[in-house]
Symmetry: D2
Subunit: 378 residues, 4 copies
């Protein structure tokens, strides 16, 4: 059997904490469940400590570990650099990789500010390399289905977006400080972490752009223990909510919080159109709720669609009808699409321009929360 | 304004405990929300104790109390006798009322046995009077809607009925004995009380008849305190489950229990047809769940219909769209239909023949639980 | 039996449309289910048209109809005036009644503006009469339970209020114009109608006061058919959302809309405290959701409390455990409490001062939506 | 770093359809998420066709394909044989592997009959090899949690088991015949396929044994198209329901159906104990419902536990708190436990003795459905 040998795509991953584990899993699994134009080879994990990078490489299925990013970027055989580091190094790592001629996949948020994001997007366009952002929830089958439903007009012109991303892990004042409670490391708190998802998802689902925002933020716990008996001031928000008007005149309410007891990953978006409503919620990520004014009046109601039949996005790549997917599959689906895009000519979405768009909304909301004024986006 | 004066319907109610309160409320309210062919006059409450009957009459809106049923039945001006007593007196009271030429509405279950029920139905037919049974849940709007949906063929030929009526008030062995734990007074336990509802509702929703049953029963708490420091043996079931085959070949599973912690009034019926499913549950009595194989494959799912828009049964009699009804409304709807039927020629359902049909299934299941054999109904 | 005869409370009701029907039902039913210090006598219905007022009186159980409010107010035997008219006549009717020395129960919203509301509250205080507002949802058992839970500290200090009142009846541009789409008659659209409920309920549940708001409004359908072939301009909002900060530093998001397909009476409030969360939703008004950080870590979760056991507010007045209540019961509970308050010395809540507080928040939000600025309440 | 090199566990997998894909995934992933005592090496896939076996090996990550089971079993370097073939070859393959001295993991159901199962279990015990059955749902975190809850006594003595496994893929008479509708290949229909899961799960969750059963079965579609224009008779059940009594006196109702529209993988078990209830449902496999009589009476209710915090079984092996798992993870968890058991001395559960126990209940129910009698298990 004279099969033409597929090319190999060699990947270097920078960072190997939670996100690195999720990315690595996606890289290992994509070729098992999707037909890809390349064999994916997990070449090297880059970290700040060699021993830990090597251990991560072994655990995650990479050939080796390294602490020398420059040396890795200088290697001819590396095709793709995956950025899985904390937020403050997204820009330097991604830009170095682009300059070294690599394709780049970057964890969200793209950057700590719009300015930084714009520079990255500009460089990406100039580089001719393929870039992508890990807004993985776009490839949750139920979310992809929601996008299909909205785009084909099933709910009509959009009038309301109602988006909340609620967690509860900072509810107690006893939870310790971390890089996530320090603005220097993460930019902002719940806002940058959680609203970033809501904003990207809204743009994806509706195709609308945010025009202006009015925001309010709060930090309920002013300082947190450090683990060494001291306390460190918290300089990021626990919660940030904002109102928005979209370019078609629709209204939006957005809210991110890490102090909503009982909410674990309540990343929920409700979209009301003129003729119907869809609701997606990460906490029940295999389901989509849909209402439409249609059919017999006496049988209308919200339906719960279990998004795992072959008619649903990505479902056919996985298991037979009726078998659930989990969190990690959104990464696998994303990676598979990205690898496929390397052969195609179209744009992979979300790319750095999408990252810029998200960042601009985040920045406008941050600014509005400080200035207490309606603030234009962009 | 020379409106022709409507006739008056005078009602005597026998019994004034929980069911009496619900019936009386229905009688007071029906004319406020329905156009009735008669003015309903609450004439007399009959009880075993005159003072208590008089107090009940005052509280419930009747003109007077009485302890003399015979005298009340002898009154020419009484048109309708409502039977709201414990199970063991349904037959004697209802039959006396029929013999006295009264219309009769009787609380369920019709009787303590099929034989008794048959005698009542026979007398009812001979009497020419209108009779009805208070299987009030038929007139829950969501249940009436379910019947409409099944009857118009929306879910196709019925294949499965899955019915459970679960409560939890006898879970603890510390709950005291009462007439409901004494077979002499109530016939059976969860079975007669709860399965009676499931059986009537299934006949109503599907139009099917039960052919044969195989049952199992259990009494988990063998004796209960009496309140006087003693214990009394429990000789009724805590739970009874049965399998059945219907006359069209469909399968049914039925289960009644008073020892299912967390279930308060979990009177739930799921019907699977060839092309769809409906689910009704008294604990969410304003909703109906419906699934159909129809429309786009990728948007199929169970829908939750909120049964309170003007397209829904009885909804227009009550409040504007979107306002919930409660338990008592099922009685009001039932009473209104019964009063309307007094002017019409059709049969009011459920009547005593329906009561016989229910009783035959109950009896067959009781017998099967004892004999441990499949038992024919009827 | 020498029972001391209870006094009689004679009621005149002004208005007899939807709200009049609900109020009248409450007046008829309260004494059947509550021990009241007065016999309630439904004396007269006042309307603009005598024949219709008389027909309403007959239907609703009042002794007579009238079109002469002044004459009714001049009657010595009338104790209580119930205001069930459209919004623009609340102030004149209620104030005339107070001046005539009557107790007053007034449909919400109290007034069309804060100024009007303040004048009413001032007069009420000066009059020495008892006044109340029909914010009936406070007496939904699940809402009363939520208040009990929050007040006894079960969820800790409140940090977030997330409130939405969504309906869908104006989604289609084909729905005709009415007094509800005309600012002169109703003040505002979804805002005054629906946010009024959310604001009152939030004050009730949390005891917090609104400090400042930032709002956005939209009217998606600019004109509507009149039924005569013409179209009338819509000058009220279809939707209004606002952010708020409370006096304890908590954040709130509020949103009212009549164009959210599938939402019928989605009056939902989520309150996140430091140690727990409660969620109340009118569409499932017999249930309350509660989360607490407590007990074994591995069994924590949102619980759904069915609010109809004898431990729950008002449940014991109605039916045995496990039987649902509906929309109208919130009015009956309210009326019963009001009548009881006539004998007591405490304040009936909500009263006109509560109405003022609600109106001030409504006004601030309306103003903010126009000015596009954060606006202080009060 | 002189780490002692771990031993390698070499696996041969027989069969490579749906179940083979799920098993292979588990073998690839287990070592990435669990600390295992062996390195797992995917050595060979055995199939009936060499080219297809080789392609499967490549796709699934095995070193090679083979069509010669005997040769594979003769290899010294194969440690574990995984049986992923249709039901009728479980016994011959597993027994040949045991005779060749291999450990064996076998897809469920263990066999086509009790006799066959008993022979397998006997051989397994004699062999001294480790055997396991892929009843993967036991290792769904929510199911493992349910078992923990029941075993630690949180719901008290079990009184009711209410189990349904409902699917809808055979609802239409147009669905084609397959090995799953042919008794020779699969033993029975919905019964063997779906009730097997319910029975194993019930034994796992409760520790109870089934004493006797009364069953009813139905085949609604008597013949199905073959794809070649002909129709083949269906000789397996579409649905089978049975009643049971457990060894502690508890009652059970069990029902499997492939003709329940809208139900995809409705594998749901409700267990009522004396003091509480748990409900597990594969369609919401990341959640567990729990009710307990405990704490304040007014806050009791069913709670929905999201089973993905570190306090929950297996959760710590996967992602941080609040991130969902899917179907395939139940296989990974199972495989990891099996591999760990190879080093330990305890029994791996479920093993072939568990398989025998399940098969005995299945057989008794099949027999009861034919004989129409209560039938002892075993």
């Amino acid at each position: 059997m004279a099969t033409k040998r597929r090319q190999t795509l060699r990947v270097a991953m920078v960072g190997h904490a939670f996100m690195g584990r999720a990315h690595a899993n996606a890289m290992r699994q994509a070729g098992r469940f999707f037909e890809l134009p390349f064999d994916v080879e997990l070449a090297v994990v880059v970290g700040r400590d060699l021993a830990r990078a090597a251990a991560a490489a072994a655990k995650l299925g990479f050939a080796e570990g390294s602490r020398d990013l420059d040396a890795v970027l200088a290697r001819d055989d590396i095709d793709l650099v995956d950025v899985a580091t904390p937020n403050d190094s997204h820009a330097p790592v991604a830009m170095a990789a682009l300059r070294a001629g690599k394709h780049v996949l970057c964890e969200k948020p793209l950057a700590l500010s719009s300015q930084e994001a714009v520079a990255m997007a500009k460089l990406a366009r100039a580089s001719g390399r393929r870039v992508g952002l890990w807004h993985n929830y776009r490839r949750c089958p139920a979310a992809s289905l929601a996008e299909r439903i909205v785009r084909r007009g099933d709910i009509g012109r959009v009038r309301h977006v109602r988006a909340t991303y609620l967690q509860d892990w900072l509810s107690s004042a006893d939870v310790e400080a971390s890089w996530r409670t320090e603005s220097k490391r993460c930019g902002s708190g719940a806002h940058g972490d959680l609203n970033a998802h809501l904003i990207d998802m809204t743009r994806f689902l509706t195709g609308l752009e945010f025009v202006e925002v009015s925001a309010i933020a709060a930090t309920f716990t002013k300082s947190r223990p450090t683990g060494t008996g001291k306390r460190r001031r918290v300089d990021v928000d626990d919660a940030l909510a904002f109102l928005t008007r979209f370019d078609n005149g629709a209204l939006g309410t957005f809210e991110a919080s890490r102090v909503a007891p009982g909410r674990k990953n309540h990343n929920r978006i409700e979209i009301n159109g003129e003729t119907g409503t869809v609701v997606w919620n990460l906490e029940r990520m295999n389901e989509l709720e849909l209402f439409r004014f249609e059919g017999d009046e006496d049988t209308r109601g919200f339906r719960t669609i279990m998004c795992m039949d072959e008619s649903h996005p990505y479902a056919a790549n996985w298991w037979p009808d009726g078998h659930l997917l989990g969190y990690e599959h959104t990464f696998v689906n994303t990676f598979a699409e990205f690898v496929k895009s390397l052969r195609g000519r179209g744009r992979f979405r979300p790319d750095f321009d999408d990252g810029v768009a998200v960042q601009r909304v985040l920045d406008a909301a941050s600014k509005s929360a400080r200035s207490r004024r309606w603030t234009k986006v962009g």
